[in-house]
Symmetry: C2
């Protein structure tokens, strides 16, 4: 399989796949013409990575998850730990955004949004 087909089937852009090779997440072989030659197992790995990334796992988390996936003797506790930490980070991020959202929403509501210069949003940013 060339990179184009793998891109299509994995849903990852070719650029991303090359990048993943560069950082050692996949190691396709090479054809005589120098093209990357992907096996089914490479495609499988890339799909795994794509799904992990879509859940927001960092590249390093993905690397660790892949290693655990391929380690038959893994303890599910190790996987769960990574996922739990990630979940905690997400919760923290949501809380942070939610707090911004609340403030911002109040400000937007309080602003007339017309041709006049008076603006509670600017007043809030400037004061305090």
């Amino acid at each position: 399989m060339n990179i184009g087909e793998v891109a299509e089937r994995s849903g990852l852009p070719p650029k991303t796949i090359r990048y993943y090779e560069e950082i050692g997440l996949v190691t396709p072989t090479r054809s005589v013409n120098g093209y990357r030659a992907f096996r089914e197992s490479d495609l499988h790995k890339l799909a795994f990575l794509g799904r992990a990334r879509s859940l927001g796992f960092s590249i390093e988390d993905c690397r660790a998850l892949m290693a655990l996936y391929e380690d038959q003797g893994r303890a599910s506790a190790d996987v769960k730990s990574i996922a739990q930490h990630h979940l905690d980070r997400i919760d923290a991020k949501i809380a942070e955004l939610q707090s911004m959202r609340d403030t911002l929403s109040d400000l937007v509501k309080s602003c007339a949004g017309d041709h006049r210069p008076d603006c509670p949003i600017l007043r809030d940013l400037a004061a305090k």
Copy 2:
């Protein structure tokens, strides 16, 4: 005022203040010894920037907000528009994170997290 005092009073790290000068958000004068010399107005600007950044506005949004703040003839609609767009982005981000959170939370709950290798998290990432 030297940068240290401004940093303390604005809550921004010196590195950040230098960076803001570099990209033209503040333009302190210079003392004879080459040190940056900040006026009260610079401090005020930096505090404004710090609060806008803490609400998640991008640097370019901050630049625009500052310009509006200093434009006596502004229309509050312009400010509101920036804030509303930012609010929309935040809502989108929260929705994205919330969706990740939901999936991830289910996966974490379903994983025993013990010494055994069987793991629904990895199964989910690998399958589909």
